[in-house]
């Protein structure tokens, strides 16, 4: 189960600053831990998060080991035009989750 939740206002005034909160379901296994028998648990993390607003990148984050599981990323953008925001998380073991949220700008 790979789930991601995006919370943002569905409509905004032109020029308004909107807050976006994203929560992705991911164990963020660091690659430094070992099992009880001493075997290394392979790294399994989200490497990159991007947000594009009508095709234009407005936010990007590189994630590293030791970032907590189920990372919460919160940021703001300026509502400039109606359209859709696309959120994409990519990581190890070909992990890819894409969420699309529409926004109406008046």
């Amino acid at each position: 189960m790979a789930r991601a939740v995006v919370t943002m206002p569905a409509q905004a005034k032109r020029g308004e600053i909107v807050e976006i909160k994203t929560l992705a379901q991911h164990p963020m296994e660091t690659g430094f831990r070992r099992t009880q028998t001493g075997e290394l648990i392979p790294r399994d993390i989200i490497r990159r998060f991007t947000c594009t607003y009508n095709g234009v990148e407005v936010y990007r984050a590189d994630l590293h080991p030791a970032i907590a599981a189920n990372p919460l990323i919160s940021f703001t953008t300026v509502a400039s035009e109606s359209g859709a925001l696309t959120f994409q998380w990519t990581g190890d073991n070909s992990y890819t989750v894409t969420e699309i949220a529409p926004i109406r700008v008046e």
């Binding site: 189960m1 789930r3 909160k21 929560l23 164990p27 907590a68 599981a69 189920n70």
Partner: protein, 224 residues
């Protein structure tokens, strides 16, 4: 619990436990077992049918003649009604379903009714809470009744009111049940932990929930 942890818990958009609740909602509506029925086929909309249920558990099961906790009740439904194999304790699916059911009781007061049938089990739980055990020879009550509010290796000792289980523990980086927490405590006092679903645990859970009567359910809570 710090102000920051409470802020994470109280906002559904930042509470990581909600990821399990959403998974639980999907499982609630998914058909399972040879009976090919979903939870929703009998119980309908959990938002109404499961409201307040978690606040009454562990509850007495007449067929079994002893109290059962919410996880066990879900598994009885799976084996009895859905004719499906029971879910393993602490499995992602069981935690998700339990969290989804318990979420429907959020902000309702815990209401454990004690009658002649479950009184002996409450007494057994109370006895276990006050009994010294383990190599450290400590009783639960010595920390959680006598010394709550003080610090144990930098962590605040709480009063042991299980209001938010299953809860997201930052130390676990995931959701876990009350029994997982009790096992942590037992290992901490160098006692032999009981197996998941053991009657000793359910008795203790019953006592702890009764002790928290009137407090509001916080599932899915977030704790350090």
């Amino acid at each position: 619990m710090s102000r920051e942890t409470r802020a994470i818990q109280d906002d559904d958009t930042t509470n990581p436990g909600m990821l399990w609740v959403l998974d639980g909602e999907a499982l609630w509506n998914r058909k399972a077992g040879t009976a090919d029925r979903a939870c929703a086929a009998c119980h309908g909309d959990a938002r109404t049918s499961m409201k307040g249920v978690a606040a009454r558990y562990p509850a007495f099961d007449a067929a079994l003649g002893r109290p059962v906790n919410l996880e066990q009740r879900i598994n009885f439904c799976r084996t009895g009604r859905q004719k499906a194999p029971p879910l393993a304790f602490e499995s992602r699916e069981l935690l998700a379903l339990t969290a989804y059911v318990a979420r429907q009781s959020r902000d309702l007061p815990i209401n454990i009714a004690i009658d002649a049938r479950n009184k002996p089990f409450l007494d057994a739980g109370s006895e276990a809470f006050h009994r010294r055990q383990g190599q450290l020879n400590l009783a639960c009550s010595q920390c959680h009744d006598d010394n709550w509010g003080k610090r144990l290796a930098g962590s605040l000792i709480p009063q042991a009111h299980p209001t938010g289980y299953p809860l997201y523990r930052l130390e676990w980086q995931g959701l876990g049940s009350l029994e997982r927490r009790l096992r942590n405590c037992l290992i901490g006092i160098r006692a032999e932990p009981h197996a998941y679903g053991a009657p000793e645990f359910v008795d203790l859970e019953l006592y702890l929930m009764w002790r928290a009567n009137g407090m509001k359910v916080e599932t899915p809570a977030v704790r350090p």
